[in-house]
Amino acid sequence: MTTPALTAPAFHRPADLADALAHLAEHPGAVPIAGGTDLMVAVNYRRARPEAMLDLTGLAELRAWSDEGDAIRIGSGVPYARIVAELATVLPGLAAASRTVGSPQIRNRGTLGGNLATASPAGDGHPPLLACGARITIASTAGTRTVAADAFFTGPKRSVLEPGELITAVTVPKAAGPQQFLKVGTRNAMVIAVCSFALSLDLDARRLGTGIGSAGPVPLRAREAERIDLPWADPRRFDDALAAEFGRRVAAAASPMDDVRGTADYRRHALAVCAARALRRVWAAAHTEGSGR
């Protein structure tokens, strides 16, 4: 019996990132695969028939995260399960969102890099990255560039990612206050968001960060809502009316549509409720005795 040679271009397991980028430059048709939780569904259902694939799961550079002082640099290939287990204290919003992705099996494989590259409007990783002001590092043989999370998406399933480029890391500022992620779906697991909302409260800068998911062609920030006047100096003046106004502004920033998962009206309503709830929660967490940071 002959042993067929491992045909190099058909499935390449690069030795390191430089090898991966060189391979991609030489074989533009090679499709990167990380956790496979988006790509393999398409392959299994013959919606994608890659002639060649490039495996990212063996690249140590992509599978590690590092503490950069005021931010965490997360390799694009770190699976959700590790974000939940290892980063929940420093990045509570992203960890909360990661915990809602699919199931344990999906979280053991799925990665932020794949979530970003797929650029689904419903990707759960996106709203917290927007709310936290994360930056995405993209590499090719031509060099490395960095894109703000809110400039990464250009349309449904479209992003600034060019052929020959790989997402190498996502750099997320450490939480400077409480963060929330709320996701509306038909059950508590294995659900594509009907809509979702991420909020971060920065106590030092006295600033809010927002991210809306599944309620527009791309994940959105609610800039008018971020500018709402909060009683920083006298936190007890915070009330439900203020939270409701915040919810209205978030709903107004969305541009949802009707689809199988819900109507545009329902999404707007649900977003207003989620946003008001998220703001009440972060405010209470920030100003409760002993809550610390």
């Binding site: 045909t7 569904v41 099996q105």
Partner: protein
């Protein structure tokens, strides 16, 4: 791609070589259709049902979403190699198996859960098994089986399935039978 390629991995302890002829062939397809290892079931091929769950380097994953070629040099454990005896016995004893199609995937997920959490509460069990769908049992008996398996593994006393001389819901050696919150009868958190 006519030449094909050969992938070497460890499956249930044995060194195995799988020849695949397209880069996107799934581990599930290789296990079942090329290697004849049909323990892992195929019900959806889209990660939704969990009936194909295997341990890949110790972590539960959907074999249908892993490309076989990603498994070069890796360790795969299917229901055959991943599941301690008491877990299997508890499933049978508790009636957690009806048609059985979901069972191999569930057993692998439960084996992983009990490896990490020797005495999980219902909330933990539900979260750990959220990726395994069962059309038959309604899940209650599965959750009972996890508690029974946890107990058997901690005290070393096997709970063996009922035999014909016993009523179908009786077991040998069962002393306690955790059923959620005894006070309220509730078993959801």
């Amino acid at each position: 791609m006519s030449e094909g390629m050969r992938v070497r991995m460890r499956v249930d302890g044995a060194e195995i070589a799988a020849d695949v002829d397209r880069p996107g062939e799934s581990l599930l397809t290789s296990l079942r259709d090329r290697l004849g290892l049909t323990g892992s079931k195929n019900a959806c091929e889209q990660g939704e049902c969990g009936s194909c769950t295997v341990l890949l380097d110790g972590l539960p994953v959907c074999a249908c979403l892993v490309a076989t070629a990603q498994c070069e040099g890796r360790e795969v454990k299917t229901v055959v190699g991943a599941v301690p005896r008491p877990v299997r016995d508890a499933f049978v004893a508790c009636g957690a198996v009806q048609c059985g199609f979901c069972t191999p995937g569930l057993l692998v997920s439960v084996a992983d859960l009990l490896d990490r959490e020797p005495d999980p509460d219902d909330a933990l069990i539900r979260e750990a098994l959220a990726g395994n769908l069962c059309r038959c049992t309604g899940y209650e008996k599965i959750i009972e089986a996890v508690h029974v398996a946890a107990e058997a593994m901690s005290d070393g006393v096997p709970r063996v399935p009922a035999r014909s001389h016993l009523h179908h819901n009786q077991w040998i050696n069962v002393t306690t039978f955790p059923r959620g919150d005894a006070e309220t009868g509730e078993d959801t958190p």
